[in-house]
């Protein structure tokens, strides 16, 4: 084995290692190389945010249109304020649309579903949803039913 051949094989070995790391990054962990700046932010106030979490899915008619950026408590109304990033290409969402928390499948994760309204005007950056519907809390439903309210 000459010096040159072993240098070439070692070079190939290192390249294979970096290619494998790149593969883990892009294909396995779904890291995206394109910048994520092309979004706009809208807000939704929920009485109960359930088990929503940042990076969660936001969908319209079952199609993913954006994701949850951040969830905080509004100190004045004591509601959960959810900041939603929506991709800029979906810029025609009617202003009177409502945000509903739904569960994917019977035991799946919760996500925000946007029910389409009929307004001519569209939601713009910084707007809030006029109407929201909180997470269905099965325990609370049963308690209410049992206590006859």
């Amino acid at each position: 084995m000459t010096q040159r051949t072993s240098e070439i094989t070692v070079g190939l070995f290192m390249v294979a290692g970096f290619a494998a790391l790149l593969m883990l990054a892009l294909q396995v962990s779904g890291l995206s190389l394109k910048p994520t700046s092309d979004t706009y932010t809208v807000y939704a106030d929920f009485n109960d945010a359930g088990s929503l979490s940042p990076r969660g899915k936001v969908a319209m008619a079952g199609v993913s249109v954006g994701r949850i950026r951040d969830i905080s408590l509004n100190q004045k109304t004591f509601q959960a304020r959810v900041a939603i990033e929506i991709e800029s290409k979906y810029d025609g969402i009617p202003a009177d649309s409502s945000a509903v928390i739904r569960t994917s499948g019977l035991l799946g994760d919760q996500y925000i579903d946007i029910s389409v309204g009929a307004d001519e005007a569209s939601l713009a950056d910084g707007d809030s949803f006029f109407e929201t519907q909180s997470a269905m809390n099965l325990e609370r439903l049963i308690t209410n039913f049992a206590s006859g309210r």
Binding site: M1, Q3, S6, E7, T9, V10, F13, M14, A16, G17, A20, L21, M23, L24, A25, Q27, V28, S29, G30, L31
Partner: protein
């Protein structure tokens, strides 16, 4: 009556002194090997030659083991998950298991058996045939000439091997899950991508394999350098390399996992 008692006490003390002494020697040894950074023009070819024998030649065993471990994970995962009707989660199961745990750990164990033992035997034989002391006579520092390139080669090769192991294993899992058992391919990849995080899972796995790289190479070169220079001494040093490396890797893996994923 008192004589055997003190003898026993003395042998206990001797064992303790030997253990502490060998730990101290290995620490000083590591420090001197690290401080003797090879000069670029002389050291680089030595390093390349060592990466070739330590890393490239270990590639075959790592790829084959990775493929079979991934296939077994796919098969086992499918049988368990299909009971709950969630075969699609097989992708995330295979990927998380490999990237977080099996990739770094199994690669380090294979590395200790394949490369660590040969490093120990090579250096031990150099010591037994007095090649190391003749180097010293010629004014060549054996730590810089022999030990440092081998240590750095192990440190560089192990993470590369571990990453390749994970990728091949995931491919093996896909082979069984998607091609053979018929899990829907889109769900396989999208579940995996939503569950695996690059920073938390992939990079933590790489950090683990870096730590194992230090530990395995350190134990291997130290056992060779510190062995009794006889054929029996070399054989027991080689055994110690494999045993100590495996135990250290498994023990450290628990500690690292607790720190990284235990939520402390």
């Amino acid at each position: 009556m008192t004589r055997p008692m003190t003898d026993r006490l003395a042998s206990l003390g001797r064992g303790g002194i030997n253990t502490v002494g060998s730990l101290g020697r290995s620490g000083v040894f590591l420090w001197r090997a690290l401080a003797g950074i090879p000069r670029p023009r002389v050291g680089f070819p030595l390093l390349v030659a060592q990466i070739y024998s330590v890393g490239v030649l270990s590639l075959a065993i790592v790829v084959v083991s990775g493929l079979f471990i991934g296939m077994v994970l796919g098969l086992q995962g499918y049988t368990i998950l299909s009971d709950y009707g969630s075969e699609q989660a097989i992708g995330q199961m295979v990927a998380l298991t490999l990237v977080r745990e099996l990739g770094p750990v199994v690669t380090a164990l294979l590395f200790a058996g394949r490369a660590g033992s040969s490093l120990t035997a090579e250096i031990g034989l150099m010591k037994a045939t007095e090649q190391l002391s003749s180097m010293e006579m010629m004014g060549v520092d054996p730590l810089r000439r022999v030990i440092a390139p081998r240590f750095w080669a192990g440190f560089i090769s192990l993470p590369v091997l571990a990453v390749i192991f994970s990728v091949v294993g995931i491919w093996g899992g896909m082979l069984v899950g998607v091609q053979w058992l018929g899990v829907f391919e889109g769900a396989f990849w999208s579940n995996m991508q939503s569950a695996v995080d690059f920073g938390d899972d992939v990079l933590n796995g790489v950090i683990k394999s870096l730590v194992f790289g230090v530990v395995c190479s350190w134990i291997a070169v130290f056992q060779g350098y510190d062995c009794v220079p006889t054929s029996a001494g070399i054989s027991s040093a080689t055994t110690k390399t494999v045993v100590y490396s495996s135990l250290a890797v498994l023990g450290l893996d628990f500690v690292l996992t607790a720190v990284m994923f235990g939520g402390f």
